[in-house]
């Protein structure tokens, strides 16, 4: 609680004590009948004014500044009205109620302000991943400077326990990094000199010297914060609906209040006191605060909670769409697979050491920078003796021929083998097969493939479990590879050998199908099942834009993709998509719970009021009580289950 809230709390406490003392006084036995009512009236004014003078003041301020229908004004009218009923004949005395309603209202407001303040704080804590200083060496001494003032290319020092303030490359030192704030990943990452590090990670063990590669404003941590903060400005449909609804709701209810208070007594000759009270109840219920606070809060909480597990959602609207996703389309390379080539098997002919096959291949490919050559060299851990490599000739697209240790080595595909009359045999594994021959004799082959990400199978399974009906994989790769990967991962459908443009067409077709389906079922575009696309951003930007929701891999993805995407996965794990869908659905559930609950209670009280069955207490509950409950419920969206 801040000091202002504490002051209000104390004020309410004093008023409450006074209220009960007055309530217990035997006024009726002290004064005769008409006088006792007026004494009571005067006495109850004291706690009323102590509790509510600020509300009355703000109501006057509002009227003077042209704000007639604000909450303060409505409360003032309603409570003053309760007091004023004393001047009507045949009305039950309402002074206690007037004071109590004001008290109850203030308690509710206080709680509401406390709850919103609390969620603001937890959001702020969640966002508190930006370090406010960087250590640089100046005249041999370590000084703290504003990270904004650190030029690109300068060296900064990050001590254990500190957050890395700016993106860069480690020049000196090795350590473990806690990347949880960025990726939600709990296992620390081991880093050493030469490694690229992102700002926002916490340095755990050793001192690191880092050469910055970006200014502070463009570093990972600044970009994340900007994304999440701007996210609350992209409003979900539900949010806009509530804002529009609030604009009509209040004037209509206030109009109804006037009509109810005036028309029946005037034309039907019914009791003024009773109908004015019903009108006053309408006034109190007319504030839409429960909705206009809790709905944006739910979305913001959902977005904040998602960012804690490494899922950046760029707006409430995307969270809303994600909750309706029924088809998830994946790009293969870089999304479901690592996007790097690895040697997955070395098959040597009988009697030949597989290491020998790899060694000859690595030597023959020693001068090549082709991804396949790089993967062979990575798999071959031994030293490469360049002195013994001669006459290296690339055979355009088929492979390479070289003299290694006075032996003729051929490394390449089946066409190269045929060309050189080497008898070879096919492999039962899918991937790129490199045959190796030594002096015209076949010695074996190496299988190179893109490795499927560790959590890819679990990602697909989790999506299916969460109710996603269809998973689709798109790739520019060959059909055999696509089939092997999609069977292994349990993907429902694949499209292979696609050009980037064709990927857009496939996604468009899927969206089209959903639109037709929705049309047949008489569903509106807004309610239709949605299609999400997940890609790593290489050539993906158009597809990301075209899909209902574009999800990009953030750590590896290109800047263009992150720009084009609606949701960014910071740690490139496809299994986070299911987490994101889960968060989105939970958020939408909370939003609708609040809308239905708040409107339900309000309408119930309004209807009861028309029939004279509601009292002021119910009305205040339907206003601030409901708002408090809705806010507490909305705060649940911030909590995200850790894996």
């Amino acid at each position: 609680m801040d000091t202002r809230q504490k002051r209000t709390r104390n004020r309410i406490a004093v008023a409450l004590v006074l209220f009960f003392i007055i309530e217990l006084l035997p006024i009726d036995s002290w004064f005769a009948s008409p006088t006792s009512v007026y004494v009571e009236f005067a006495l109850f004014l004291v706690p009323y004014l102590i509790a509510g003078y600020d509300v009355l003041g703000r109501a006057v301020h509002g009227i003077l500044h042209g704000q007639v229908l604000d909450e303060n004004f409505l409360m003032a009218i309603a409570t003053i009205g309760a007091f004023a009923l004393v001047f009507f004949p045949n009305s039950s005395p309402h002074m206690a109620e007037g004071a109590a309603v004001m008290l109850f209202y203030q308690v509710g407001e206080l709680f509401q302000s406390y709850a919103v303040g609390k969620s603001r704080k937890s959001i702020a804590a969640m966002m508190d991943i930006a370090p406010d200083y960087a250590n640089i060496t100046r005249d041999g001494e370590l000084v703290q400077v504003d990270p904004d003032d650190v030029a690109v290319g300068s060296q900064i020092v990050v001590k254990p326990g500190e957050r890395i303030p700016i993106d860069g490359v480690i020049v000196e030192g090795s350590s473990q990094l806690d990347t949880a704030a960025l990726t939600g990943e709990s296992v620390p990452r081991v880093v050493e000199a030469g490694a690229e590090v992102a700002s926002g990670c916490v340095n755990l063990t050793g001192v690191l010297t880092i050469r910055t590669t970006k200014p502070f404003g463009e570093s990972t941590v600044s970009r994340i914060l900007e994304l999440v903060e701007n996210a609350s400005e992209k409003k979900a449909r539900t949010e806009n609906f509530i804002t529009r609804f609030a604009r009509y709701y209040t004037p209509i209810v206030v109009g109804a209040a006037c009509a109810i208070a005036i028309l029946p007594p005037l034309f039907a000759g019914l009791s003024w006191a009773s109908w004015i009270e019903r009108g006053l109840i309408f006034l109190v219920v007319s504030c839409p605060c429960a909705l206009v606070i809790s709905v944006p809060l739910s979305f913001f909480g959902g977005i904040g909670g998602a960012s804690r597990v490494g899922v950046l959602v760029k707006g409430g609207n995307y969270l809303e769409t994600l909750a309706q996703v029924d088809t998830v389309v994946f790009d293969k390379t870089g999304t479901l697979t690592n996007g790097t080539f690895n040697v997955v098997a070395v098959h040597a002919e009988s009697g030949i050491d597989p290491d020998l096959v790899l060694s000859f291949a690595a030597h023959a490919e020693a001068y090549s920078d082709h991804p396949i050559a790089l993967s062979i060299k990575a798999a071959y851990a031994g030293p490469i003796d360049e002195e013994h490599i001669k006459d290296v000739r690339e055979q355009s697209g088929h492979g390479v021929k070289a003299q290694v240790n006075e032996h003729t080595v051929l490394v390449g595909n089946d066409k190269l083998m045929e060309e050189c009359d080497v008898s070879w045999h096919p492999c039962d594994l899918t991937g790129t097969i490199l045959h190796v021959s030594l002096d015209g004799d076949y010695i074996g082959h190496i299988v190179i493939a893109d490795v499927v990400k560790e959590d890819a199978a679990r990602a697909i399974e989790a999506l299916h479990e969460s109710g996603v009906k269809k998973t689709v994989m798109l790739t520019g790769d060959r059909a055999e590879v696509a089939e092997a990967v999609s069977t292994r991962l349990g993907i429902d459908e694949y499209h292979a050998q696609l050009l980037p443009q064709q990927k857009v067409e496939v996604v468009e077709q899927l969206i089209d199908d959903e639109q037709k389906r929705a049309h047949e079922h008489g569903q509106s575009e807004a309610k239709r099942r949605k299609v999400a696309f997940v890609g790593d951003g290489i050539n993906d930007a158009p597809v990301l834009t075209r899909a209902d929701v574009g999800i990009a891999m953030g750590a590896m993805g290109s800047d263009a993709a992150i720009e084009a995407a609606d949701i960014v996965l910071m740690d490139d794990k496809p299994s986070r998509i299911a987490t994101a869908v889960h968060i989105a659905r939970k958020t939408m559930r909370i939003v609708w719970q609040n809308i239905i609950f708040a409107l339900g209670v309000k309408f119930a009280v309004l209807i009861l009021a028309v029939f004279g069955l509601a009292n002021m207490w119910m009305a205040v509950f339907a206003d601030v009580g409901v708002a408090c409950i809705a806010i507490v419920n909305a705060m649940r969206s911030m909590r995200v289950p850790k894996e």
Binding site: R4, V116, S232, L297
Partner: protein, 73 residues
């Protein structure tokens, strides 16, 4: 010109929406955003009228939600 101001005090979503609507209607304002969760007021307006528009915005804040003040640095 676009500037972000911090807000101090308390403001509810309803008032924030009202204030935002009103400021957006001012002549010379390109876009105004009042975020009641992050307590930030973003004003994007024509350069030559900017200072005046900030003053008008502060007045609108005061009219609609006197407990919330714009911290004009």
């Amino acid at each position: 010109m676009r500037k972000v101001y911090k807000l101090e005090g308390d403001i509810c979503g309803n008032c924030a929406a009202k204030i935002q609507d009103k400021i957006n209607k001012l002549d010379g304002v390109n876009s105004a955003k009042v975020n009641f969760l992050t307590l930030k007021f973003t004003l994007d307006a024509d350069d030559d009228k900017f200072d005046d528009l900030v003053k008008q915005s502060v007045r609108i804040f005061d009219d609609i939600e006197p407990t919330c003040t714009v911290l004009v640095k």
